[in-house]
C-alpha cells in the first residue's frame, strides 16, 4: 500500500467519522425537540382537562336554576316592558340631539384611545420557543377546491364542496 492510498483511506475514514458525528448530533437534536413536543402536548392535554373542569364548575354554579333563585332572593329583575325598548330610528336619533342650554354635563367615562401612546395588543407567544409567533402562521389555511365539474359515466356529478370555492378551515 502506497503512502498516497493510505492517506486517501484515512481521509475517507475521517469524512465518514465526521458525517457520523453530524448525523448523531442531528439525531439527538431531533429527539430532544420531539420529546419537548411530547411534553408540551401533555401539558396542553392537562391544561385542557383543567379548563373543562373549571368550565363545568362555572356552568354548574351559574346554572339557570341557580340564577333564577338568586334573582328571586337578591336581585328581583323583571322582564323588560315595551317602554324600555327603542322602537325605531327616530327614537334612536333622539339620543343624538345636542344638549339644551343649562342641561347637566354628561358623565365621561375614562377610556384609552388607540393613539401612539396606547400599548400594542399582546402577541401570541409559542409555548415551545417562548417567542412571538408569526402572524401568517395563525391565519387559517386557505384550501383551494377544484372548481371543475367532472363528467363521469352516468349523471353529471359536481363535488359538494366545489360550490363554495375557497374553503377556510
Amino acid at each position: 500500500m502506497t503512502q498516497q492510498s493510505r492517506l486517501r483511506r484515512m481521509g475517507w475514514i475521517a469524512v465518514l467519522a465526521l458525517c457520523t458525528m453530524c448525523y448523531l448530533g442531528l439525531h439527538l437534536k431531533v429527539h430532544a425537540v420531539r420529546s419537548e413536543v411530547v411534553r408540551s402536548e401533555r401539558q396542553i392535554v392537562a391544561l385542557e382537562a383543567q379548563k373543562s373542569l373549571l368550565e363545568t364548575e362555572f356552568e354548574t354554579r351559574a346554572s339557570q336554576e341557580q340564577l333564577a333563585s338568586w334573582n328571586r332572593v337578591e336581585f328581583g329583575y323583571a322582564a323588560p316592558t315595551a317602554a324600555q325598548f327603542v322602537s325605531g330610528e327616530r327614537q334612536l336619533a333622539k339620543f343624538g340631539t345636542p344638549r339644551a342650554a343649562g342641561a347637566p354635563e354628561p358623565i365621561r367615562v375614562a377610556s384609552l384611545a388607540t393613539g401612539e401612546d396606547a400599548p400594542a395588543y399582546p402577541k401570541f407567544v409559542s409555548p415551545l420557543t417562548g417567542k412571538a409567533v408569526d402572524d401568517k402562521l395563525l391565519e387559517p389555511e386557505v384550501r383551494r377546491v377544484n372548481l371543475d365539474a367532472h363528467y363521469e359515466r352516468g349523471a353529471l356529478r359536481i363535488p359538494l364542496a366545489a360550490a363554495i370555492g375557497d374553503v377556510r378551515e
Binding site: 402536548e41 392535554v45 373543562s52 368550565e55 339557570q64 336554576e65 322582564a79 315595551a82 325598548f85
Partner: protein, 575 residues
C-alpha cells in the same frame, strides 16, 4: 509393488493415527453440528418471539394529543352552544388491599385511623361502615366521585391501598334542567331516556364525538319555562305539569319540560319514577283546546262561511247523552263567542255540520292519529278511533273529548293553525336556516289568518285574558278537561291546558302549558279551570322568553280585530 509391501511394525501405529484423525474429525463435525443447532434454536426462538409479539400481544398503545383531547363521549349543547351534557374527567376512590405486595396487612395505619382521615376529607362518609370495609380486606369502591382537590388530600394520607383511578363521568352542568330532553348515561356507558339514548351511536363514534351535537333547546327559555311551570304548579298544588315552546316555522322545540323532574347527575329510585315524560308520552283528553281546530277545519271546508251566524246554545240531547255548557251562555252564540266563552254545545254543532270524516281527516293531517314526531324514544300512542265515527263521537271530538293526545301533538297542531296552515314534525335537533322540513298543508293560509284573529280575541276578551302580556300580542285557547277514571269522568281531577302563540300579528312561537290535577286553592281564586292556573303561567312566561327569542314587546302593534269586534260585544265570559 511398493505399495503392497509395508512394514509390519509400522502398520498398527499408522492405523491408530488414522483412527485418531478420523475421530477428531467426527468430533469437530459434531461440535459444528451442535453449534449450528444452537444457532438454529436461537433463530427459531427469536422467530417464535417475533410472531408472538406480532400476532398475540396487543400493539403498544400510543396516545397522540388529538386522541387524548377526544372526549370519551361527545358533548351535547343547546342551540347557542351552551353545554348541556359533557364528559367530565373525574376520579374514583378505590380500595386495593393487594397494593402492598409484602403479604402483610393492606394498610400501614390501623383501619380506624385511615377511616377517620377519609372522613376529614368527606364529611358525609359513614365512619363505622368504612372502618369495617377497610378491615375486611376486600377490594372495592369507597367513593365513585372524587374531585381533583380531594385526590391530592387522599394521596397525602400516604396509604398505597387507597387508589384514585381516573374515570370518565357524564356531567350535566344545568342539573335538573331539561332532564327529560337529555336523559342520562347508565353505568354500562349507554344513554337512556332522552337524546342521550337517541344520539348514543353518534356520541360514541370516534370520528364524530369530537364535535358537539347542538339541540334545538335554548337553555334560557328552558330555564324560564321550568321556573314558571314549577312555581305555577306549587301554587295550585298540581301533581304534575308539562310545557313546551315550539318554533312554528321550523318545528324546533325550544323548551320542553315535564315536572316533577329528575336529576340526571344522580339517578335514584325516585328519579327513575319521575322519568315519565308528560309532554311526549302521556296522552290526555285536552278538552276545549280542540275547539279552534274544529272551527278551523269547518272554515277550511267551507262549512262556516259567516262568522256572525248564530247557533242555538240550548243543551243537546244525542243518543241518551246530553251535551251542555258549564253555565248558561245565552240562547244563541256566533263563532267568535263560541270560542271566547268556550261553548261545548255550539262546537258540537259545528263538528256535526262538518261531519266525522272531514274532522277526522283534519286531525289526522295534524298528526293526531299516530305517535308524535320527535326524536325522544318515549312517545305515547294517542287514543284514536278509526273513522267512520258515529255522530256522538264526532260531536264530542269537536270539543276535545273522545280523542286523547300528548301535549306535543297539540303544540304541533297549533303551530300549523297559526303559521299559515303547514304542519311540520317537531324536532329536538337544531335546524339550519332554510333546511326545515317541508311539512304538509292542512289549512288554507286564509283560514290560518282568520284563526289568528280568533285566538287573539280569546286572550283579549275571553278566558285567556291573564295571558295577555302587554306588547306581546298573545293569542290562545284554554282547556279544562275532566280526567277519565274508573266509573266515568272525575269531577275534581281536571287537566288544565293553555295552548297559545305569540305574536299573533306574525306568529313565531307556540307555547303550551298544562297542569295535571290542579287544586282549587286561594292562589287560583278557588277555581280549577285553566283560566286561573295555566293561563297566568303563560302570561308570566312570554315576557321572559319573548325578548330572548327576538320578539320585542310593542304596544303599537297588534293583529287587526276590527272586523270581528262588533260580533262579540263587550266580550267577557268564562271557561
Amino acid at each position: 509393488m511398493n505399495a503392497m509391501t509395508f512394514d509390519v511394525e509400522f502398520a498398527p501405529s499408522r492405523i491408530r493415527l488414522v483412527d485418531i484423525r478420523h475421530r477428531q474429525l467426527l468430533t469437530a463435525q459434531l461440535r459444528m453440528l451442535l453449534l449450528a443447532a444452537a444457532f438454529a434454536l436461537v433463530a427459531f426462538i427469536s422467530l417464535i418471539r417475533i410472531a408472538w409479539l406480532g400476532v398475540v400481544q396487543p400493539a403498544p398503545t400510543e396516545h397522540s394529543m388529538a386522541q387524548a383531547l377526544l372526549p370519551p363521549r361527545g358533548e351535547i349543547t343547546d342551540r347557542n352552544g351552551v353545554p348541556l351534557a359533557r364528559a367530565f374527567p373525574a376520579y374514583a376512590l378505590w380500595y386495593n388491599p393487594q397494593a402492598l405486595v409484602d403479604g402483610g396487612p393492606p394498610l400501614v395505619n390501623p383501619p380506624v385511623v385511615v377511616a377517620q382521615r377519609l372522613k376529614d376529607i368527606f364529611p358525609d362518609l359513614d365512619l363505622s361502615a368504612t372502618t369495617r370495609f377497610l378491615a375486611a380486606g376486600k377490594p372495592g369502591y369507597i367513593r365513585r366521585r372524587v374531585l381533583p382537590d380531594e385526590v391530592n388530600r387522599i394521596n397525602a394520607i400516604g396509604e398505597l391501598a387507597l387508589e384514585t383511578p381516573g374515570e370518565t363521568d357524564r356531567q350535566y352542568p344545568q342539573g335538573k334542567l331539561a332532564a327529560h330532553v337529555l336523559g342520562y348515561v347508565a353505568s354500562d356507558g349507554h344513554g337512556r331516556v332522552g337524546m342521550e339514548s337517541f344520539l348514543d351511536k353518534r356520541l360514541l363514534d370516534p370520528s364524530a364525538r369530537g364535535q358537539a351535537v347542538p339541540l334545538s333547546i335554548d337553555v334560557r327559555v328552558q330555564g324560564a319555562l321550568e321556573d314558571e311551570l314549577a312555581s305555577g304548579m306549587r301554587a295550585v298544588e298540581a301533581v304534575g305539569a308539562a310545557g313546551i315552546v315550539l318554533d312554528v316555522d321550523t318545528g324546533e322545540v325550544l323548551a320542553l319540560a315535564s315536572l316533577p323532574s329528575f336529576d340526571p347527575n344522580k339517578i335514584d329510585a325516585e328519579g327513575q319514577r319521575r322519568m315519565f315524560n308528560r309532554v311526549t308520552n302521556e296522552v290526555y283528553e285536552l278538552g276545549s283546546t280542540f275547539k279552534p281546530l274544529t272551527v278551523a277545519a269547518a272554515i277550511d271546508a267551507g262549512v262556516v262561511t259567516d262568522l256572525s251566524h248564530r247557533y242555538p246554545a240550548a243543551p243537546l240531547h244525542i243518543g241518551g247523552f246530553t251535551i251542555h255548557d258549564d253555565e248558561n251562555l245565552g240562547s244563541t252564540l256566533n263563532v267568535p263567542e263560541t270560542l271566547i266563552h268556550s261553548s261545548n254545545i255550539v262546537s258540537a254543532q259545528i263538528a256535526d255540520q262538518l261531519g266525522g270524516d272531514r274532522l277526522a281527516r283534519a286531525l289526522a293531517d295534524l298528526g293526531m292519529s299516530e305517535r308524535p314526531y320527535i326524536e325522544l324514544p318515549a312517545r305515547g300512542f294517542p287514543i284514536w278511533h278509526k273513522p267512520p265515527w258515529p255522530r256522538l263521537r264526532t260531536m264530542t271530538v269537536g270539543f276535545g273529548h273522545g280523542v286523547a293526545v300528548t301535549p306535543l301533538h297539540l303544540a304541533a297542531a297549533y303551530a300549523a293553525l297559526v303559521n299559515g296552515g303547514i304542519w311540520r314534525p317537531a324536532t329536538l335537533l337544531k335546524v339550519k336556516p332554510g333546511e326545515e322540513a317541508r311539512g304538509r298543508r292542512v289549512f288554507k293560509a286564509s283560514t290560518s289568518a282568520r284563526m289568528n284573529q280568533l285566538l287573539r280575541m280569546i286572550t283579549v276578551y275571553g278566558t285567556g285574558r291573564k295571558a295577555n302580556a302587554p306588547g306581546f300580542r298573545v293569542g290562545g285557547k284554554t282547556g279544562s278537561a275532566e280526567k277519565a277514571g274508573a266509573g266515568g269522568y272525575q269531577k275534581h281531577a281536571v287537566v288544565a291546558t293553555f295552548a297559545s302563540a305569540f305574536p299573533m300579528d306574525h306568529p313565531r312561537y307556540v307555547v303550551v302549558a298544562m297542569l295535571d290535577e290542579p287544586k282549587a286553592v286561594a292562589a287560583s281564586s278557588f277555581q280549577r279551570t285553566a283560566a286561573w292556573n295555566a293561563v297566568p303561567i303563560v302570561g308570566r312566561l312570554i315576557p321572559r322568553i319573548g325578548p330572548m327569542l327576538g320578539v320585542l314587546p310593542d304596544d303599537t302593534r297588534d293583529i287587526d280585530l276590527s272586523d270581528l269586534k262588533p260580533l262579540v260585544g263587550d266580550g267577557g265570559g268564562n271557561e
